[in-house]
Symmetry: C2
Subunit: 494 residues, 2 copies
């Protein structure tokens, strides 16, 4: 075997172990006995130690040094690009710092959950300050620079390779005023009707399974279960998704399912030749989110598809208290005043992200002290949303991300929406009569278009190149904003 083949054989085993670790997470959230939590933590620590040792194995550096990139085909070069990036990132972070972060964030997550339950930001602030300090150190080590912008970009690069905070700042600056205005205009108008009726959990799950199938999720290579928080786990031939049921709100279950189906279908569609290699996963967090969002929103919340879903829901639940498909469409798209990011609609969601992006950059730069985070959050929230935060669990304690050190992750959600906006515009050009399909619950042409343009490539291309090639235009927030203003302008008769 030459150095490249040795690398790939080693990586194949590492990827298989990573799949096992991911499935351990699935198991924990779905079927693990409650009393097994402590033992599970030991099991996670053991497999993470194995994975860490493999990622920093000196053989990998030696093989990488030996590989002749010029002799490789484009797939081989892309494999090496991923391995090299991971190795370089890992090598730059001192072992002691990495394990300090692992230990601290494990503790911080527990304190965050407690602080959120008690609505007590002060109880969480001291450890968050330590997390911020260590993540700043980690970012500086990866960036090999202490410049604030470089530090944040290094963290962001771990989730969205090739994107900088400056790019995002420009994009978000264009989005924010239009979204704030759109939000305010919609909420001044009369609210669409809500649902009435009985929504028992087994019927919700039956319809969720039908939706998963409708959107092309392959249950021969995956499964749908219930969990407290919906998620998708795994790659290749074993991609599992979860959803949840709320007796008062079937949309929570159904649209969470479509969202996770978007993630799951992406992983299932990746070229099987890339299985258990660095290319055998979605290209980035942002690209992943673009798929889940376009399934959930641009397709799942379209007028055409809503008509089909309206009929299916009446078959499942009887009278919904909604008189026709147009009213149903307005219901699945209605804006509500709310504090919580994960419950936000298409218009407001990105406003939640942008404030987190600005606040976390300020924290990492040292321009915002953790002690001042709650006040800064509440000020910004009121500025964008027009009403005051009532308690920290509805404010800066609502998300787990910062407690576990995920700085640079939030903006990929908004970036995913932007990618989805561009992809949707291009898809509608390519498939001008798509609504006729959607109205009959036929998603195949839409999902095949996405499979062909985006999903099958896995990690072959850099995220921005992948999206630009799929869309046929530079990445821009304009298609998303145009779509939102047009859609919600019509719904709210602005």
């Amino acid at each position: 075997m030459n150095a490249f083949e040795k690398l790939m054989a080693f990586q194949h085993q590492t990827e298989a172990l990573a799949q096992i670790a991911g499935r351990l997470g699935w198991d924990q959230e779905t079927v693990m006995p409650r009393g097994a939590a402590d033992q599970r933590a030991e099991e996670f620590a053991a497999i993470e130690a194995v994975l860490h040792a493999r990622r920093t194995d000196p053989h990998v550096r030696d093989w990488l040094a030996e590989v002749d990139d010029a002799a490789l085909d484009p797939v081989g070069r892309a494999q090496i690009r991923h391995i090299r990036r991971d190795v370089e990132r890992a090598a730059r972070v001192p072992e002691a710092l990495a394990s300090q972060i692992a230990r601290l964030t494990s503790r911080a997550q527990g304190l965050w959950a407690e602080a959120r339950a008690n609505d007590d930001f002060a109880a969480f602030a001291p450890i968050l300050e330590q997390v911020v300090a260590l993540k700043r150190e980690e970012g500086a080590a990866i960036a090999q620079s202490a410049r604030a912008g470089a530090v944040y970009d290094a963290l962001l690069d771990g989730f969205e390779p090739g994107t900088s905070a400056d790019d995002l700042e420009r994009m978000f600056a264009a989005m924010r005023p239009r979204l704030v205005a759109l939000r305010a205009a919609c909420l001044e108008r009369p609210a669409p009707d809500g649902l009435s009726g009985q929504f028992d959990a087994p019927a919700q799950m039956r319809l969720a399974r039908r939706l998963a199938e409708t959107f092309g999720y392959d249950t021969m290579r995956g499964r749908l279960d219930k969990a407290v928080h919906p998620f998708s786990a795994g790659s290749g031939a074993d991609v599992r998704i979860t959803t949840r049921t709320d007796p008062d709100d079937p949309f929570n279950c159904l649209y969470s399912t479509i969202h996770e189906v978007g993630h799951g279908c992406y992983e299932q569609a990746i070229d099987p030749a890339y299985a258990l290699t660095p290319l055998g996963q979605g290209a980035s967090m942002g690209v992943h989110e673009s798929q889940s969002r376009i399934y959930e929103n641009q397709l799942g919340r379209s007028r055409a598809f809503a008509g089909w879903l309206f009929d299916r829901m009446r078959e499942s639940f009887g009278d919904l208290g909604i008189h026709d498909a147009d009213a149903f469409y307005r219901t699945v798209n209605r804006l509500r005043q709310g504090y919580i990011r994960t419950e936000a609609d298409e218009v407001q969601y990105n406003l939640h992200i942008m404030m987190r992006f600005d606040l976390e950059r300020a924290l990492i730069a040292g321009d915002l002290a953790v002690a001042d985070l709650e006040a800064a959050w509440n000020d910004r929230f009121e500025a964008d949303f027009g009403f005051a935060v009532d308690k920290p669990s509805n404010g800066c304690l609502q998300d787990v991300h910062w407690s576990v050190g995920l700085f640079g992750y939030f903006p990929t959600y908004a970036l995913g929406n932007v990618y989805a906006g561009g992809l949707h515009q291009a898809m509608r050009v390519a498939l001008p009569d798509l609504d006729a399909d959607l109205a009959e619950g036929r998603l195949a042409r839409a999902t095949e278009w996405l499979r062909d343009r985006v999903q099958r490539h896995g990690g072959l291309h850099e995220p921005s190149q992948l999206i630009e090639a799929a869309v046929g235009a530079p990445i821009s927030e304009a298609p998303l904003l145009d779509y939102l203003e047009q859609k919600f302008g019509a719904i709210y008769m602005l």
Copy 2:
């Protein structure tokens, strides 16, 4: 850290990884998507490679050489005993032979399944011959001797440390004529009634869950699911069991559940101080089987408990076509003429084992050629069971064990029954009024006695020492035989 502490820290991580590998097996048999089988094979190979590398890690040998056994307490010495034994066994088997066996048995299992489906022993014989040859080589390497008895004992020692084929041969020689005679006498008498009625799967599973709880299985640290073959997986705080349902035969589900509950409760009862150490598992296959068997048979099929179960079954399924608890007791204990080991009753089960023990020793010794196995099997079966084997799937192709190289495993099932016989006799002396409890479905005193005498010790003692201390007498087949002759003599009015 001194050498002992380093060893234990290393071992802790290895045990955690072994738990993960075990859970991967559970996942495969219960929830894995069907299309994930190939990927799962890669995942298994990856984690097995990690475990193998740890088991043969040169550091372990160095630490073992440094450990001062005399400075350790009895628990520490027992830990070292386990680690040393595993390391020595692993070190004696050349790497090339180990991986040759792994590859060959993986292939042989597939060919066995095909041959069984086609009732074609000749299609399986050539690869079984290779498996026998390699296992003989492996046994000789471990024994450091080519003497037939030593080779087989080395294989047996992997499942039941401290037991020799000579011990078993003496024991089985005493058992066989009495069991053959008891079997023949029972089958000459009129057969007890069978069940009639409807046994829907959800009701079977509800009763199975109630039985699991009744026998003390802790679902906070475990779970019960359905699988094609009942099994138990995991140790410590995450011990899962499975059962199956047959619409015509609820006893299959219920007694499989009690059997697996015996295995599961054993693992759950081990001193938590031994968790994720070499002591944190059952002492041997035989001791494990003694617990599952005593739960299933001596307790679960006792007259007193059968009365309680009869009432529960009528609550669940209505009329069973059986007029009273005495008749029900005869039904759950009835002997039937059959080919299949896993379906055999208490009297006939050990006869199935003994013939496998004799045949596999002859194979390993080279006294029996694989080409002659089918004929030898059929002759022996007719001699002990009094009727002829009709086809290989009911004969020498019925069990998976030999195809995957499990030579030396079968006798531990019979040894488990012998241990259970001794334990049961001692338990009845210690708890003379136990039947009053069993008649009301109260298992606590029986299971606590087993927990205290056997289960909590995990791997602290050698299997035979553990059982002898629990029973208070040398290991003997006499209590089991006396129990069987008395119980079935009464049931069949011999």
